[in-house]
């Protein structure tokens, strides 16, 4: 789903980025373009949604083809694993004593679901409660 590109001022409302039904299949992972960014939306094994950067921060591989496993997304290129907050949790090709993964985080955005639609917060500060009828971009 593609929604508004980034303009000068950050949005002040939640923005719809997908339908809940987009994630109905056996592999709930879809690309999202929003605010001029390439992102990937997925539902993890706890049923929670994640909206994180689409390109692996290692060498830029496309996480829309990531392995949906271990409660997150794993890049097929070198196995880097990301949770729904964009935090890198494993770098299985790096030496066993490496702690580099602790410094790696993808951009991520708060996501909320209501009445079959999925919304993301790209605004400044903490996301307000998702109330009825937010803007559709």
């Amino acid at each position: 789903m593609t929604v508004a590109t980034q303009d000068a001022s950050p949005p002040t409302t939640w923005i719809q980025i997908a339908q809940s039904s987009d994630l109905d299949g056996p592999r709930p992972v879809v690309p999202v373009s929003a605010m001029g960014q390439a992102l990937v939306l997925f539902r993890d094994e706890e049923g929670e949604l994640g909206l994180i950067g689409r390109h692996c921060p290692h060498r830029g591989a496309d996480l829309c083809f990531g392995r949906h496993e271990n409660n997150g997304l794993r890049c097929p290129f070198h196995g880097w694993h990301f949770d729904r907050n964009g935090k890198c949790t494993e770098q299985p090709a790096e030496p066993a004593d490496s702690t580099m993964y602790q410094t790696i985080k993808l951009p991520s955005y708060p996501v909320s679901e209501q009445d079959g639609a999925i919304f993301a917060w790209f605004g400044e500060g903490a996301a307000p409660a998702l109330t009825a009828a937010p803007a559709t971009a």
Binding site: H55, G60, P76, F77, H78, G79
Partner: protein, 409 residues
């Protein structure tokens, strides 16, 4: 992470660019000899951002020169022979045929000598050449080839094929003298130690996978400056592969498969690859427009990518998915990327040398030395961990001693 300015400097290769000037000091694979069938005298070539035509004169002499082209041509546009019109007065580049490939030299001055690498000195019967299009910049295509760690993930097979069905395919053979398929070694030992050494031709890259029982898997691969790699494919064959820029956002991999044993079964090798590509531009049938035939069910149970068993498709997905030119301002390289870091330093040094007119400072530009460069050694071996260096060497020497053509080093 690097700056945008540096990323532009090391990726862009058109006329007048700095990295392009480095490429133009080396012979470039311009076309397969298969593409120029016997009756033909002209073949379109799109290389280093230039629109060219390969010409075969009445006496068989080959040259490459500029052709008339519309500025909005597709990057790999392949006009019919009747529509190819050389531009009178344009520079004429020399062309040499080597074991199935026409190499061209687009630079100024005398071209460098060819090194005496295995792919060039093996007889024609023992070398098979093919190519394929990747829709991305050449550097990210090269960088996956000097990244020994990715094979444990990107090319992971959740089940191993019978090595007896492995002819002409990468990673399917048994490792050296063991009964372990390489696919199993790669899967079970995903954190190689990587050693990188500068050589006369580029880089030697050794990846060590320390296994249970005091054994080490040693894989020796090479970067051949500026755009090639030389890697093992099976116990019988090695791969020498160039990542040849078409323009800034497209490249061909051009490969010479070289056998140290039996003559190459070219009909089979060609058929395997023609099934995956469309002519005349050698575009892969699995590509971005059809999601590389991605199958989520297969990704769960059979392959790491869900894109079939052909490792070329995995590589193609990885490098095309980065975008036309990888945004290296956002990358985070790790210790596993040691050879990539080292290569970029070589390239930057070469850019500086070319800028200063010090061409003899580039790898393989000193005439007498280059022609006597042999090898490079590329192989997989499993050895006692305290003896891996000697074992890797001995393994290659055994293969070379039994080789029907002179493969001595």
């Amino acid at each position: 992470m690097i700056s945008q300015k540096l990323n532009d400097q090391i990726t862009r290769i058109g006329p007048g660019s700095e990295a392009g000037a480095v490429h133009r000091r080396y012979w470039q694979p311009a076309a397969l000899t298969d593409e120029m069938t016997p009756g033909m005298s002209k073949l379109p070539v799109n290389l280093l951002g230039e629109r060219l035509v390969l010409l075969r004169g009445a006496d068989g002499t080959l040259t490459l020169t500029a052709r008339v082209a519309s500025p909005d041509e597709a990057p790999t546009h392949h006009p019919a022979e009747a529509d190819l019109h050389p531009i009178a007065g344009a520079p004429v580049y020399p062309v040499v045929e080597k074991n199935g490939i026409y190499f061209a030299y687009l630079g100024e001055g005398a071209p460098p000598a060819f090194p005496n690498f295995d792919c060039f000195r093996a007889p024609d019967s023992h070398v098979f050449a093919f190519k394929g299009l990747w829709e991305c910049n050449w550097l990210q295509a090269l960088e996956i080839g000097i990244d020994p760690g990715h094979a444990s993930f990107l090319h992971r097979f959740l089940q191993d094929e019978d090595p007896a069905d492995s002819y002409g395919k990468q990673f399917r053979d048994k490792a050296a003298d063991t009964n372990m398929p390489i696919t199993q070694v790669l899967r079970e030992y995903p954190r190689p130690d990587i050693e990188v050494e500068e050589t006369d031709f580029g880089l030697k890259i050794t990846s060590l996978r320390h296994m249970d029982g005091g054994l080490t898997h040693v894989r020796v691969t090479n970067q051949i400056f500026p755009s090639a790699i030389c890697i093992p494919m099976s116990r019988e064959m090695i791969i020498t592969q160039w990542h040849v820029p078409v323009d800034d956002e497209n490249c061909y991999w051009v490969t010479m498969f070289t056998s140290f044993d039996k003559p190459v079964n070219k009909a089979l090798m060609r058929e395997q690859r023609l099934q995956e590509h469309s002519l005349p531009d050698y575009a892969p049938l699995k590509n971005k427009s059809n999601d590389y035939h991605y199958n989520p069910e297969e990704q769960k149970t059979e392959t790491y990518t869900g894109m079939g068993l052909d490792i070329n498709v995995h590589d193609q997905w990885a490098v095309e998915g980065m975008g036309a030119i990888q945004d290296r301002t956002r990358e985070h390289l790790g210790r596993g990327d040691a050879a990539i870091v080292r290569y970029r330093l070589l390239l930057r040094k070469a850019i500086k040398a070319v800028g200063a007119g010090q061409f003899d400072r580039l790898p393989m530009q000193d005439q007498p030395g280059t022609a006597s460069l042999i090898g490079p050694l590329s192989n997989d071996a499993i050895a006692d961990s305290d003896d891996w260096q000697a074992a890797s060497w001995k393994y290659d020497m055994t293969r070379r001693a039994a080789c029907p053509w002179d493969a001595s080093v």
